[in-house]
């Protein structure tokens, strides 16, 4: 992968994002339009400069070896795990989903001591749940499937 490649991708994504915002601008009342338009203009300009810079640099750069692929193989599934965790929280409730998340996460990160794993997950979750619901009076998600 070339060194400036990520910059190029990032600036393209940003351009798409800025455009999605620009589409919404006409609906804003006139009094409060100016400031976001000003920022939007500068952001567009800088993103385009970044894009051009990265493209022109990329032509000169050699391909270099990085560990991105291997690291992505660890990190992307973990992000998926967090997404599932957050999604399930509203479905099966805070306690169950957190215990499940902790066990799976520790398994995934290859913690060897299985007893510690279960105890840690259950105790941490129970402690958080207890302190939050009873003591700090925060109602944690109960779960709509239960």
């Amino acid at each position: 992968m070339k060194k400036s490649f990520p910059d190029m991708i990032i600036s393209i994504v940003l351009l798409a994002f800025l455009t999605s915002m620009a589409v919404q601008v006409p609906a804003i009342p006139d009094v409060s339009k100016g400031y976001p338009i000003f920022l939007l203009g500068i952001s567009y300009l800088m993103t385009i400069v970044l894009l051009l810079k990265s493209v022109s640099r990329m032509k000169l750069e050699e391909k270099q070896e990085t560990k991105v692929v291997e690291q992505a193989k660890v990190i992307i599934p973990y992000c998926g795990l967090i997404t599932v965790y957050l999604f399930m929280m509203t479905k099966i409730g805070y306690v169950v989903s957190t215990i499940a998340f902790m066990i799976i996460s520790l398994l995934y990160l290859r913690l060897k001591n299985k007893v510690l794993m279960v105890i840690l997950s259950v105790v941490t979750t129970a402690l958080i749940y207890f302190v939050f619901t009873n003591f700090l009076v925060v109602i944690l998600p109960r779960g709509s499937w239960l």
Partner: protein
């Protein structure tokens, strides 16, 4: 004087001392856990104080507030995750010091500087509150606008190595800060159809995600390793030069902290960034910043704790809260029938002096509580990263949820974390995001109000002395790093010519 003595007598009652200590323990814990903050500690405990005596209630809240602002720095040093945004500068320096095996020294510096800042800010509160309150009265909308711009100028200095990307991040983050209701009509901008975005992004979840999750992802790159190779924090002892070199730095940062505290638009986080920035400018070794500079830690910590006392000055004298936690104090005081304002010091003298004396004492006690936490906290370094990573995700989730009690914020936190990680990997600085989100809304609001005030004659803003001073400061602050960059370039050119 008599009132001060009564205050002392009240504070020294065993029960009140216990409240201070208990509040400090809980506060430091809240500050230290990623996803929990000083504001949250105060907000969550306000209901408890409703049944207490006013004096004791305010002591508890003060202890929570001071402890929370300080506590954020412990994980900042140890794991590089600032427990609260105000500790972000500490995290940069602290992490580098831990790598050098000087974590203990860093923690001791943090604790000492925090107590210094906090203690002298409470003295400022005690001695010259009425005088300093005059500053608060001078701060109108134009001044707030310049303070915000001044705060943003820090970006230029912080992102010196990568000025273009830093500024780009700052502008796009300012744009993110315009999400939600506009300041004049209340029209919800850029909501993408989400009603949750009506009020814009809540800053706290974004910052929790931005500062804690990237560290988690970095841990995943090598889940079996310990936090440091040695697994030790090293000696807690300070060097004599640590103190002698930093006295001036600490005093300057505390003064900045108190002043930032008085100004309603900015809180501990801005103070930490600004003081760090000022210390870097004043330092003889600016190149050390980012590679474990004790000066940076001292500046950030005495600055953010200096805010604690400062933010109470306009609150007690005029009923104007100088920071988010101070706004919660206001509610607590009202429910106790202790109404802030000029009558406070006459009608409720015992309560208010108990609080102020307690505030000073709390900052002294904080040294001992802090050192205790630092000693225990050092154990974090021997916990395997797999456990640490998991626990941080769980804590960040529950902390974010508890802040506003809605799942949307948790998703925002997660997204901010992923984006933050991508940014860090590609050398986009994340600090400008924090600054822009914290200051963006204030800036737009005060700008539009200033425009309403001086419709068509905007130059009249310059007739306000404080606004003019702030404007000059801002210009200097933007120009200084640029001149410095230009100069070093010139020198290099000369050198290469030789």
């Amino acid at each position: 004087m008599e009132n001060i003595l009564i205050g002392f007598a009240n504070v020294l009652q065993p029960m009140n001392l216990l409240i201070c200590l208990g509040g400090l323990f809980v506060g430091v814990l809240f500050g230290a856990l990623p996803g929990f903050s000083a504001t949250m500690a105060v907000a969550i405990f306000v209901p408890f104080t409703y049944v207490m005596e006013p004096g004791a209630a305010l002591l508890l809240l003060s202890a929570l507030y001071c402890g929370g602002v300080y506590g954020g720095s412990i994980p900042a040093v140890l794991v590089g995750i600032p427990g609260t945004p105000a500790s972000a500068p500490t995290a940069w320096e602290g992490k580098a010091l831990v790598k050098k095996g000087e974590g203990g020294r860093a923690l001791h510096l943090v604790t000492l500087a925090s107590c210094f800042g906090g203690f002298w800010s409470s003295i400022a509160l005690l001695v010259c509150a009425p005088l300093l309150a005059k500053i608060a009265k001078m701060v109108g909308q134009p001044e707030q606008m310049f303070v915000a711009i001044f705060g943003l100028s820090v970006v230029v200095m912080l992102a010196q190595d990568n000025l273009f990307k830093g500024c780009m991040v700052a502008f796009i983050s300012l744009l993110l800060a315009t999400f939600g209701q506009d300041p004049v009509e209340g029209f919800p901008r850029f909501t993408y159809g989400f009603s949750e975005l009506t009020g814009g992004f809540s800053v706290v979840p974004v910052l929790i995600g931005l500062f804690s999750l990237p560290e988690v992802f970095k841990m995943l790159e090598d889940p079996f390793g310990k936090m440091t190779e040695s697994g030790k924090v090293g000696s807690m002892k300070l060097r004599a030069t640590d103190i002698t070199n930093n006295i001036g730095n600490a005093i300057r940062s505390t003064i900045w902290g108190v002043v930032i505290g008085i100004i309603p638009a900015a809180g501990p986080d801005i103070a930490a960034f600004l003081c760090y920035n000022e210390a870097k400018k004043a330092s003889k070794h600016p190149e050390e910043f980012g590679n474990g500079s004790p000066d940076g830690i001292v500046a950030a910590e005495s600055g953010n704790n200096g805010v604690t006392g400062g933010s109470l000055i306009p609150l007690l004298t005029l009923g104007i809260p100088g920071s988010a936690p101070a706004a919660i104090f206001l509610g607590a005081m009202i429910i106790h029938g202790v109404r802030p304002g000029p009558t406070l010091f006459t009608q409720h003298a015992d309560t208010v002096y108990t609080m102020i004396i307690g505030f000073a004492l709390i900052n002294l006690l904080m040294y001992f509580v802090g050192m205790f936490f630092c000693k225990c906290g050092s154990l974090i370094l021997i916990i395997p990263k797999s456990i640490l990573a998991t626990v941080i995700v769980v804590l960040a989730t529950v902390g974010t949820f508890a802040t506003n009690k809605n799942m949307f914020d948790v998703w925002v936190m997660f997204a901010a974390g992923v984006i933050g990680y991508i940014m860090e990997r590609n050398k986009f600085p994340t600090a400008p995001v924090a600054l822009a989100l914290l200051l963006g809304t204030t800036m737009e609001k005060s700008m539009s109000l200033t425009r309403t005030m001086y419709e068509g004659e905007l130059h009249m803003v310059l007739t306000r002395p404080l606004a003019l001073a702030l404007l000059l400061l801002t210009v200097f602050s933007f120009a200084f790093p640029l001149i410095k960059i230009w100069r070093t370039n010139q020198k290099e050119k000369l050198r290469s010519n030789d």
